[in-house]
């Protein structure tokens, strides 16, 4: 049997087949924690049907699950159980963080028993914001995950998925998946030099808001024409005022030349 170390025609074809199969039959783990679980259930029900994406079979056992939809606030008491369930899921597995609480702690960010985001302890692939996100948003998240699975390669990229709880009970803090996105060739060193996360909160930023918030955006055409005319009128008025100021200055300069002694004359 030949072992391929680089992508070639054989591996890309099997990649396409495996990825197509995996993305169209994502079995979620029933992991409804809080309010987002209700919207997840709504997504699985008849009106917004998740079964048409192949993802309608919510399995209770982690051994049969492909994707873990963390829907709801992760409390620290539950985080241990969540990592245990994550480790019990067989590869390939993905995680969708649904809702503000699973992404970053949400409205309960300063709680003493709330984990500030599920990505503190497990690697998250897709973040679906909202509180709670609409069923359409969750379906968009699952479709994004499907697009992500399409890009998967069996050779060439090493995805670090280590155990997160060591034997002595300490926890490895995990960077979100986006931090690993730039690693494309060769082996990625696992857990080498994990940098502390820099999160800036909105209330900590100083200075002007970003340009997109001060930008006016699209303006309707008739208003644009009006603004252009006003601009022209303003420029004309300015030119006039400048011309008048010049004329006054030359007059006053002539008047001064008669009355006062020139500075050149004084210096000399």
């Amino acid at each position: 049997m030949q072992k391929f170390n680089e992508p070639n025609i054989v591996t890309t074809s099997t990649d396409k087949l495996f990825n197509w199969a995996r993305k169209n039959s994502l079995w979620p783990l029933q992991f409804g924690l809080a309010c987002c679980a209700i919207e997840m259930m709504s997504t699985g029900m008849a009106h917004n049907d998740l079964d048409r994406f192949g993802a309608g079979f919510f399995t209770a056992s982690p051994r049969q699950a492909d994707v873990m939809i963390v829907s709801g606030t992760v409390s620290t008491k539950m985080a241990e159980r969540m990592t245990r369930l994550y480790e019990q899921m067989p590869e390939p597995k993905w995680v969708i963080a649904m809702g503000a609480c699973a992404i970053s702690g949400g409205p309960f960010l300063d709680g003493y028993s709330v984990l500030m985001g599920a990505d503190r302890v497990i690697p998250v692939d897709v973040y679906v914001p909202g509180c709670p996100p609409r069923p359409e948003a969750l379906i968009f998240g699952i479709m994004t995950l499907q697009k992500k699975i399409e890009r998967d390669q069996q050779v060439g990229i090493e995805k670090p998925r280590p155990a997160l709880v060591n034997e002595d009970g300490s926890i490895n803090e995990y960077l979100p998946e986006r931090e690993y996105a730039g690693i494309s060739e060769g082996k990625a060193p696992r857990l080498e030099g994990i940098r502390p996360l820099k999160r800036t909160y909105v209330f900590e930023r100083e200075g002007m808001p970003p340009a997109s918030q001060t930008d006016v955006g699209w303006v309707p055409p008739e208003v644009q024409k009006k603004l252009k005319e006003e601009e022209k009128a303003r420029k004309a008025a300015e030119k006039e005022a400048a011309a008048r100021a010049d004329a006054e200055k030359t007059e006053s300069a002539n008047g001064e030349a008669d009355g006062e002694a020139k500075p050149d004359g004084e210096q000399a």
């Binding site: 620290t76 985080a79 003493y112 028993s113 984990l115």
Partner: protein, 163 residues
Amino acid sequence: MAVTLPEGNLEDRLKRYLDGFSGRHGLRESEIIGNAVRVVVAPGDVPAVLATAKEALGIRHLSFITVVDRVGSFELTYELIDLRGARVMVKAVIEGEEPVIGSVTGIYPTANWHEREAYDMFGVAFAGHPDLRRLYMWQDHFDHHPLLKSFEISTRRTFEGLR
């Protein structure tokens, strides 16, 4: 097996409850506000007062037990409902940093979990409680009582309990 609930005019019943309390126990304050009888007692008298309420006055439902942390003392409020429009608020103030009070689980069995929650959140010890352990927080290695005013919340404290 039908359960009999109190009947009669609301004002008469409120006055009857107030007289029942003041006749049997020494009260620090007592008044009728709206549809509630408000009674302030010493912490040691609380189980006796609640026993009167249940047996002599027929008030059968304990709605909640609130603990308020006035820094330096704890104020407990027991709210009793007689299911037909009247309320009784029993307040007690416990001085000091280590509050201990008698448990009322023998009188109102529903107080079991309310007292466990009060212990978990504030550290109020209920003497005579059959099963006083923590309810919300980790039961073995969390030494703080979160709702005390001295426990400040911030994003730094979250990893204390995560093993």
